[in-house]
């Protein structure tokens, strides 16, 4: 059964949407955060893999919205609405935001994982999208896969077993 499912892959600083029976996945989340927005009834979901908390950090003119929490989540919500999801029914599941290396340094970007998670939560709350489940923080990389059929988010890490949230 699972072999027949089409898996749509989302890269880093990238986004996409799927409808059941498609599945959407992103691999190797470290300090980045994967945000899934979905409409449970319509079985449609989108995933954005963000790297940075805020688009105000951008130092160049051209902006890839999927790179930042603020622009990425807003953009994904719009694309989902345009493709048949009901804006008021959108819910979120999030994963990632780990701290991959531990050492002392004055650089703010070292704690980027935590800052990404905080930013994601702030943006979601300002859009009044509730977080149904999350697997965030820690120091492990994650691969995540969302199935809009049952609204389950699969999380795989190197050291632990696969789990569903």
């Amino acid at each position: 059964m699972s072999e027949m499912m089409e898996i749509v892959k989302v890269g880093i600083a990238d986004m996409n949407i799927v409808k059941s029976p498609q599945i959407i996945r992103t691999s190797g989340l470290g300090s980045c955060v994967g945000i899934v927005l979905y409409d449970e009834g319509r079985k449609i979901a989108g995933l954005v893999h963000i790297m940075l908390p805020n688009s105000s950090l951008a130092k160049s003119g051209q902006l890839n919205p999927a790179k930042f929490a603020d622009t990425g989540i807003r953009h994904l919500a719009i694309v989902l609405s345009q493709n048949g999801a009901r804006r008021s029914c959108l819910q979120a599941k999030i994963a990632g935001g780990a701290q991959m290396f531990k050492f002392t340094s004055g650089n703010d970007l070292i704690r980027i994982g935590n800052r990404n998670i905080e930013a994601v939560k702030m943006v979601l709350s300002s859009l009044e999208i509730s977080i149904v489940a999350e697997d965030t923080g820690g120091s492990s990389g994650r691969t995540i896969e969302f199935n809009p059929e049952n609204s389950l988010l699969m999380i795989r890490t190197v050291s632990q077993n696969v789990k569903y949230i």
């Binding site: 890269g11 190797g28 300090s31 790297m51 780990a98 340094s105 650089n107 190197v158």
Partner: protein, 216 residues
């Protein structure tokens, strides 16, 4: 060497400049190979560095895919030239290195997450990556200050993406200097490590300037 048409921030990179960067990578890797050779008392060879402008996703793919489990030794470089330097090893490679080093000290190898193994591998990183950095610093006469190395065993994508964060504020592409050091013995690679240097955006111009001036 082809620069992808989607190249945004590095569109100024000519073939000559890419060759210069390759030469910088060559010199850095040569010194790292010598350091590794001295440490393990083995003959170490190196591959011609791969230097190219990649998208972030392409950069995460260079060690066998973002989900591939690797041992990442990482250090941050600050100073006039700043960036992130990785030494990526397969789990088997790291285990071999750690056990060989520990045996020399008369200690037993237990596991990769053991305190002794971590400490030994950090020392390996210090020596190899330190040699890489000091060679480039000597060449350019620009100060570079490496931090103490960190180590993690995890998905390649999760480790490498950490090195892209600083750069990602200003760019959607990355210039990657990637090279392999290896020991080929009886057609079997005994030591094989992947060096990956990701420079911060403003460092390129400084680097070019320093080499081009010293060339004249």
């Amino acid at each position: 060497m082809v620069i992808d048409s989607s190249c945004k921030s590095f569109s100024c990179l000519s073939n000559e400049r890419l060759d210069l960067i390759k030469e910088v990578g060559n010199i850095g890797a040569g010194h790292a190979a010598t350091a590794l050779s001295t440490m393990f008392n083995k003959r170490i060879e190196m591959k011609v560095p791969f230097v190219n402008v990649l998208t972030f996703q392409e950069a995460l793919e260079i060690t066998g895919g973002p989900e591939n489990t690797v041992v990442g030794l990482y250090l941050r470089v600050d100073g006039e030239i700043s960036g992130n330097l990785f030494c990526l090893l397969t789990v088997e490679q790291a285990e071999k290195m750690a056990s060989e080093m520990l045996e020399k000290q008369g200690a037993d190898y237990t596991s990769l997450r053991d305190r002794m193994s971590v400490s030994v591998l950090k020392e390996v990183a210090n020596i190899i990556l330190g040699a890489f950095i000091s060679a480039i610093s000597d060449l350019t006469k620009l100060p570079m200050y490496p931090t103490v190395p960190s180590i993690n065993v995890d998905m390649a994508g999760a480790l490498i993406s950490f090195g892209l964060i600083e750069l990602s504020q200003a760019s959607d592409v990355v210039l990657v200097i990637n090279t392999s050091l290896f020991e080929a013995e009886y057609n079997q690679t005994v030591i094989d490590c992947n060096l990956l240097f990701i420079l911060d955006n403003p460092s390129y111009e400084k680097l070019f300037h320093a080499i081009e001036v010293s060339d004249k």
